[in-house]
């Protein structure tokens, strides 16, 4: 038996929207924060999709039939820990970028820009010729 858990769904939707907005920024710090927020949204999503709320899944405190599904919980627990690992790694990257280049911005790929300018140059040459 499952509910239309609208509150949770809205929370998940909001967390995803904010997470992606932050991820689309150019400041690495904001990207990291966006990643954390996305992680929260995903953990909630795992739980919501896994079934309705229930009793604590501990034997002796509740009947197995009344328990919340323990499997999504185990998954979400793993996800929390992994998100933490990734967050620290991203932070280390942002920190390194800051110490090396003096800024923590995601810059555009120079090679791609060069390809574009090379094409422009060729076009100009053709027009001149």
């Amino acid at each position: 038996m499952s509910y239309l858990d609208l509150t949770m769904a809205v929370a998940v939707a909001g967390l995803y929207a904010v997470g992606f907005l932050l991820l689309l920024e150019r400041s690495l710090m904001r990207v990291v924060l966006g990643f954390i927020v996305l992680g929260h949204g995903t953990n909630l999503l795992l739980l919501v999709a896994g079934g309705p709320p229930g009793a604590v899944p501990i034997l002796g405190l509740a009947e197995p039939a009344a328990m919340a599904d323990p499997l999504p919980q185990a998954m979400a627990l793993t996800a929390i820990v992994i998100t933490f690992g990734l967050t620290t790694f991203l932070l280390a990257l942002a920190y390194r970028s800051w110490t090396f280049t003096g800024h923590d911005e995601v810059r555009d790929d120079i090679e791609d820009r060069r390809l574009e300018s090379a094409e422009h140059r060729r076009q100009r040459e053709r027009e001149l010729a």
């Binding site: 509150t7 992606f20 710090m29 793993t78 990734l86």
Partner: protein
């Protein structure tokens, strides 16, 4: 057979060493390899007359049905004799022609000779393809020489692009054909040809491969361009052997595929068009090699038409012309090379009086050119007589073909005469060219090939023996045609004479024809079409890269999100199902927490100060932990609290070193609204997904089993039992990920510390950036 091919490839490795030790004359020894192959092939001729066919198989991978199958039937033997015979002559000739490059070119020529021998004797489609591409690679390396001259590189790339494109299409055709037939063995496919289904597609692809390799219209420009290669290469690859591969393929497959409706008309049309157009072009070239190259294209067109016609007499004529062309065209190239080598030019406007100085060489050239023009008693004459005969007795289409053939032959006679005149004649108004006498050994290979054309003509029995077994793939006409110098006073004899006379008339009136042609509109130029195609492909590639690879990560991510919205999002719209609403008491607890979480999340968005943004994220985390508790997951909540706190500590540690505020956002709303749409859209999408996923559950959860069995694991907490018992390996994996992350973080931080001793420029740059950052604050 296999052994001989292997010897070719293995000895090629030592040719450069040999040449370094002995000089270019060492190639005389290398010529023995194809010469031995030629001798071995000769020993197989008596067996052919008895109908015995030599076969060999080497299993490569039995499971994949990949084998090297070789089969020496009449057509293969004919090609093998031609390839090995001309190969020996060309290698011997190279000993005198080549200079410092002899080691490389000699080795590649030997590899090529081996590959070509493999190609013509292969009885397995994949084997054939492997050797086919090997010849293309040899051709590329030989045309490109050392890659120093731009012209060579261009020609090499053009030849490779065109022939490899064809080769790949052909491979596709081979696969279709092999799958339709249920076997990749050529002999089995030809014994029971498949019909219908994918066979027409296979036939079309194979024809394309053959046309590109044999430089048929409109793929021909690579062959004249390839004339920048050293003359032995032109003589061997681009006249006698490699370009014959396409024609050989048509000859090989026509007995099986002629039933495909378009096979004969396409082969005939393309072949005859090529015959006439290329011969016409040959009439206006002034470079002797280019003249011969267009002649080759023209003759290849003739061969395509003859082999594609799929009749007994046409096949006979094709086989004879194949041999004749290999002999006379290789001779003429070798002669041109000698003229070029001794006189220092191959431009027919500059050469004058060469024939007087080199009478023996000009005699050889006359032998070959006479065979090319189809004069009796040369081999070319036998072939042309058979060609006329093949189409003389048919109905209207055949007679149209005959007219086209006659036109082509008239032009052929004319450019043959033009070649002889251009290379050897004394031209009024042009100073006699200074010529040094060539060594006897230099002229000898050309002489042998030229005389061979005469001997084969004088002794038609040899050609009959070699060519008739191939023609016997087709039902023989009532009056079986035999090659002979004198067939009686037949109409074809009259036609032959007429063609020769007309050819000489055309040659005599060439100046007037040129004047007329210059007033006619120019034909479409296939060379320019090729260049435009290549440039177009490049432009499309650069353009596509420009539009898809803007180099901006936010743009890429926006694109990905929009695709998610359009694809799975649309699917979700049609699949959304709703369950019954949640009980109000649950909502009453959830709502404040959800409001807290969302409010904090919005706060993160608005924050300009790094620290406050981080704290807001912490609030989100704690709020989510509260939701976990409501949902009946205390373990999750506990972990979330711990991790959130830890994350805060780490972030603050990092922030300690960074500026307090974010780099200000300067982007205009015009750039930002697509991101808002993408992000909000995906949020909506995920929310809908959450609702749908909740309602979609129909089967009881698998985790009941976990709950029931936790007792056995000695655990009361089911989540714990899952993590450390039932799915312990997964947890081990998770721990490994954390360990790897820790190593990564540690090394990143360490590298940062080491930056103190990094080059000064990096540090200065960083310091400068940091200063401007601080100024901005």
């Amino acid at each position: 057979m296999l052994f001989l091919i292997a010897v070719h490839l293995a000895l090629a490795a030592v040719v450069p060493l040999l040449v370094r030790r002995l000089g270019p004359r060492g190639l005389l020894g290398v010529a023995l390899v194809p010469a031995i192959t030629f001798g071995w092939a000769l020993t197989q001729v008596p067996g052919l007359e008895r109908g015995a066919i030599h076969q060999e198989t080497l299993t490569w991978s039995a499971g994949l049905d990949l084998r090297f199958d070789f089969r020496l039937d009449a057509l293969a033997l004919l090609m093998l004799l031609l390839v090995s015979g001309v190969g020996a002559a060309v290698l011997a000739y190279s000993a005198y022609y080549l200079g410092g490059d002899a080691g490389r070119v000699g080795a590649l020529l030997l590899v090529f000779a081996g590959a070509m021998a493999g190609l013509v004797t292969a009885d397995h489609l994949v084997t054939l393809y492997v050797f086919w591409e090997l010849t293309t690679v040899c051709s590329f390396l030989l045309i490109g020489e050392q890659g120093i001259k731009e012209q060579s590189r261009r020609a090499a790339i053009q030849a490779a692009l065109v022939t490899m494109l064809g080769g790949l299409l052909m491979l596709l055709g081979f696969v279709l054909l092999g799958e339709a037939a249920g076997t990749y063995r050529l002999s089995e496919i030809l014994a029971a040809p498949p019909h219908g289904g994918t066979v027409p597609a296979a036939a079309a692809l194979i024809l394309l491969g053959a046309f590109t390799k044999s430089a048929q219209l409109p793929f021909h420009p690579w062959l004249p361009a390839a004339m920048v290669a050293p003359t032995p290469v032109s003589a061997y690859l681009h006249a006698a052997a490699m370009v014959k591969a396409g024609v050989y393929l048509i000859a090989r497959l026509t007995p099986g595929l002629a039933d495909v409706p378009f096979w004969r008309p396409v082969a005939l049309t393309v072949g005859l068009l090529t015959l006439i157009v290329a011969a016409w072009r040959a009439l206006r070239e002034t470079d002797l090699k280019k003249l011969l190259a267009y002649g080759t294209v023209s003759e290849l067109g003739l061969l395509t038409a003859l082999f594609g016609a799929a009749t007994h007499t046409a096949a006979l004529a094709g086989a004879v012309m194949l041999l004749a062309h290999g002999l006379f065209k290789a001779t003429l190239f070798l002669v041109t090379g000698i003229v070029d080598h001794q006189a220092g030019s191959r431009d027919l406007r500059e050469l004058s009086g060469v024939g007087q100085r080199l009478p023996a060489l000009s005699a050889v050239a006359v032998l070959a050119a006479a065979s090319m023009a189809g004069l009796p008693p040369f081999l070319g004459y036998l072939g042309k007589e058979a060609t006329y005969e093949a189409f003389w007795h048919g109905d209207t289409p055949d007679h149209l073909v005959l007219v086209a053939l006659a036109v082509g032959f008239v032009l052929t006679v004319a450019y043959s005469a033009r070649f002889l005149w251009g290379a050897f004649a004394h031209k009024p108004g042009v100073a006699a060219t200074k010529v040094t006498l060539p060594a006897t050994g230099f002229v000898l290979p050309a002489g042998v090939l030229g005389v061979a054309g005469l001997l084969f003509g004088l002794w038609p029995h040899a050609s009959n023996v070699l060519a008739t077994p191939y023609a016997d793939h087709y039902p023989s006409p009532v009056e079986r045609y035999h090659l002979a110098l004198w067939q009686g006073l037949t109409p074809t004899l009259v036609l032959s004479a007429l063609v020769i006379v007309l050819g000489l008339v055309v040659y005599a009136g060439l100046d007037r024809i040129t004047a007329v042609r210059q007033r006619l509109p120019a034909l479409p130029d296939a060379e320019r079409a090729f260049e435009r195609t290549v440039r177009g492909v490049n432009q499309i590639a650069v353009g596509a890269t420009r539009y898809t690879q803007a180099g901006s990560l936010p743009l890429y991510l926006t694109t990905i999100l929009l695709v998610v919205l359009v694809g799975p999002g649309t699917m979700l719209l049609f699949g959304t199902t709703l369950a019954s609403p949640a009980p109000p008491d649950l909502v009453a607890v959830q709502l404040p927490l959800a409001v807290l979480v969302l409010g904090a999340a919005l706060g993160v968005l608005r924050a300009r100060n790094r620290l406050s943004a981080v704290l807001m994220v912490g609030v989100v985390g704690y709020g989510v932990a509260g939701l976990f508790v409501v949902h009946g997951a205390p373990d999750l909540a506990l972990t979330q609290f711990l991790v959130e706190t830890l994350t805060l500590v780490v972030v603050v540690l990092v922030l300690r070193r960074m500026p307090v505020r974010f780099t200000p956002l300067e982007r205009s709303w015009r750039l930002r609204w697509p991101r808002w749409i993408a992000a909000l859209g995906v949020g909506l999408f995920v929310g809908t997904f959450a609702v749908t996923a909740t309602a979609a559950r129909t089967v009881p959860a698998v985790s009941r089993e976990y709950a029931d069995r936790s007792e056995e694991a000695g655990a009361r907490n089911v989540v714990n039992a899952i993590l450390v018992d039932f799915r312990a390996l997964d947890t081990l994996g998770e721990i490994s990920v954390l360990a790897v992350t820790a190593v990564g973080v540690a090394s990143l931080v360490l590298v940062t510390r080491l930056s103190a001793i990094k080059p000064r420029r990096v540090r200065q740059h960083a310091a400068h950036n940091r200063r401007t950052e601080e100024d901005r604050r």
